[in-house]
Amino acid sequence: MTEQPGDWLDETAKLLALDLPEVCREGVVANLELLARHARILDDHLLAGDEA
């Protein structure tokens, strides 16, 4: 079964016992994408350190 991005969002909200209003979803996804970019920046620097 192919997982959709919304599935992850719903499952995580359920884990947190958070009722995620529909109106929030777009903003939350946009912010998660921003956090993912920052996580990649951190990874790039940390991995570059490992190679040095």
Partner: protein, 396 residues
């Protein structure tokens, strides 16, 4: 106009004749407990919260020193912003140009001092919330070292990064207020080696910010220093903020999500969902970064960079341009402040002396060496390199 307003304020406020701050007035960002008032932290939902039983510790110290608290100041909701654009209480305008942002999240405090409404003010700084509005409003702002000033009675945001500090129009006033808040006299020290930060701090500065740094750097005969991990430090601060802010607000989000400023709410929810492995990597990197900065401060007494990438953006434009990119103003005004937040060191944002729109610089040193910054900035102020310039039209 400012002199007449100050004279009126002094007439109306109780006269206290004792203490090092006697006769001075101040306002406080509305996340400090003030006895008898609800602490809103910029959130409409907190207007009906129980009034504070006591003043926050720093407020108590300032009052004991003779300063008169005359009001509370607007802020981004729950301090999660660099703009002081508050969905419930409105946008704080920049006294130098009312069509422009004051910066945030302590924008109300910075604007009050810039406009001459109070002698000094209090803000909080997690990722740059004192330094950003200080830069955009053209006043001095101090982010102290982590755990330097008491946080009792201050509404929290990110416990790994939260600090409180003052704004003022002169370096002398900033020092006087800081000493009262800290409960100690600052040891006087002269700076030897000074470095201007390059790399990330230059790439992410617009032309006017780079010019401001070049002006100060040339005057001080500063060396150049690159800290290559600064970009990672910024990202780590971003991730730590998201995770800790989200965790703090999780219970309230479960019950009152729709009572939040939507821009703040969605950021907090995303932060609460951040996987713990990413959060932990950010924390671990924070420790590495602090060692890198400590090493730099063993070689240099003071590090300098711009406080904001640009001067105050227009309120009706959501974006700013630097590093060849057009990016969100609200998300990026603190880009140069965040790495120094994660370092946990004391930083003063000082305004370049200019007749154009204000822009500030960050002066950072090792914890316990704040005297270096005050002495250096007093010299730069006397030389006419940094300093407050009153807005042309205020309360017109």
């Amino acid at each position: 106009m400012i002199d007449r307003y100050n004279a009126l304020t002094r007439t109306l406020t109780p006269k206290v004749h004792e203490g090092p701050l006697a006769g001075m007035t101040f306002v406080a960002k509305d996340l400090f407990d003030i006895q008898g008032l609800p602490t809103t932290a910029g959130a409409k939902m907190r207007l009906d919260s129980a009034p504070a039983a006591h003043d926050a510790e720093v407020i108590a110290r300032l009052k004991k020193a003779g300063a008169a608290l005359i009001g509370t100041a607007n802020m981004d909701e729950y301090a999660y912003g660099f703009a002081t654009v508050n969905a419930h209480f409105g946008t704080t305008r920049n006294p130098h140009d009312l069509a422009r942002l004051a910066g945030g999240s302590s924008g109300g405090s910075a604007a009050a001092v810039a406009a001459g409404l109070a002698d000094f003010s209090l803000g909080s700084d997690t990722n740059g919330s004192i330094r950003v509005p200080a830069s955009l409003c053209g006043v001095y702002g101090l982010r102290p070292a982590m755990d330097d000033l008491p946080m009792d009675g201050v509404f929290p945001f990110v416990h790994a990064l939260d600090t409180v500090g003052p704004f003022a129009r002169s370096i002398r006033d900033l020092k006087r207020v800081y000493e009262v808040m800290a409960g100690r006299t600052v040891k006087s020290e002269s700076a030897g080696r000074i470095a201007v930060l390059d790399g990330f701090f230059t790439r992410n500065a617009g032309a006017e910010a780079r010019e401001a740094v070049a002006t100060v750097g040339a005057h001080l005969n500063a060396e150049i220093l690159n800290l290559p991990q600064a970009e990672a430090a910024r990202s780590a601060a971003f991730l730590i903020t998201a995770a800790q802010g989200g965790a703090l607000h999780l219970d309230t989000l479960k019950n009152r999500a729709m009572d939040y400023d939507p821009a703040v709410r969605d950021r907090l929810i995303a932060g609460a969902m951040l996987p713990s492995a990413i959060y932990q990597r950010a924390l671990d990197f924070g420790a590495v970064w602090r060692d890198i900065v400590a090493e730099a401060l063993a070689r240099f007494d003071v590090l300098i960079c711009a406080a904001t990438p640009v001067s105050a953006p227009r309120i009706d434009e959501g974006t700013i341009v630097f590093n060849g990119e057009t990016v969100s103003a609200r998300a990026n005004l603190g880009i140069l402040a965040q790495p120094l937040s994660l370092a946990g060191i004391p930083v003063i944002a000082a305004p370049l002396k200019t007749d154009k729109l204000p822009i500030g610089l960050q002066f950072a040193t090792a914890p316990g060496r704040e005297g270096l910054l005050f002495e250096l900035l007093a010299k730069l102020e006397a030389d006419g390199i940094v300093g407050f310039t009153a807005p042309v039209e205020v309360l017109a």
